[in-house]
Symmetry: C2
Subunit: 164 residues, 2 copies
DNA sequence: TTTACTGCAAATATTTTGCAATATC
DNA sequence: GATATTGCAAAATATTTGCAGTAAA
């Protein structure tokens, strides 16, 4: 599932197309970062990505990471998520296309859920707007928290954080 | 539409209930901030809210604004959004319940869209998860950008920002 | 009277920017 | 060779935290 529906090669190809169309340069950093993202499972934040790049290949500056993520989003290869925490998360778009997210408001856990995207897409026919991609975030209570609640042990994220 | 489906009084009541249940204090700041949010149209960020509070009522510290927004989210009165920009936006939950969001990837504009929430909710029956609320973000191209594209004037958000 | 909450200011975290060096075209 | 892109470090922005003072219960 690491690279979702597309292979790493396909991703590189899409990036190349995008860069050529836009007249941008094919730098080693851009391809390296893309490849690292493909090999990371699921969601990631900027810092995690940077460490992953450093561990596996070579050093890339913070600025380049930010630049490249923006570029990859623009190229339609990566999408941004903001779940309950403060940290912005990213994900390969081709992976994101295979699921939605169920977020527990009580422990902050995030679960990927298979939901028929076509069915949902069919529901929104918006006048004067051409949809390209959609994100559905479902907030609620996971089974672990439901269980805890039964035994009067329910804690919200706020309360958990205050304990620190 | 300022307060969505609920009146300001109803909101205050919900807050009171929540504070009493949790054994938290009914401070002037909490009620003032809630009231300001009710009177603001649509989305807002922390800084805008702070200014609005200052203009209309009295000074509230930044820390208190952050604390209170967290608390209001916990109370189920406010929801958080992260659209394309870096700035986190908030919205009254009762208002958010009346629409979803169509976000233009090319100019960053955000449109509220009426979509049958019940229909969407019916589509996700998740095992071992109790849904309470969901957000649907539809990314695509608005009519203005579609028009611009026709005349080879298409610009992405990235390109627009670089011009600054 | 107790202590949760606020204001203030400093600390931390996150993202952007300016500029010289470098690598792509 | 021209210049887009990088690395670096500093600046800007956003959020959290510690602590003394204030006010809710």
């Amino acid at each position: 599932m690491s690279a979702g529906m597309y292979s790493v090669d396909k991703m590189r190809e899409i990036l190349t197309c995008y860069l050529e169309k836009k007249g941008l340069r094919k730098t080693v950093e851009r391809y390296t970062i893309l490849e690292c993202i493909c090999h990371m499972q699921g969601h990631f934040d900027v810092e995690t990505l940077r460490k992953h790049v450093a561990e596996n290949h070579f050093r890339v500056s913070q600025a380049a990471v930010y630049n490249t993520i923006e570029l990859l989003m623009d190229a339609g290869l990566v999408v941004r998520h903001q779940f309950s925490s403060q940290v912005v998360q990213y994900e390969l778009k081709s992976a994101a296309l295979t699921h939605h997210h169920a977020i527990c408001c009580y422990c902050g856990s995030i679960r990927e859920v298979k939901i028929d995207r076509v069915k949902i897409a069919a529901d929104y026919k918006i006048a004067r707007f051409t949809p390209e991609y959609h994100s559905l975030y479902i907030y609620g209570m996971c089974s672990k928290c439901k269980f805890r609640e039964k035994f009067q042990m329910k804690k919200t994220i706020n309360e958990q954080q205050k304990q620190k």
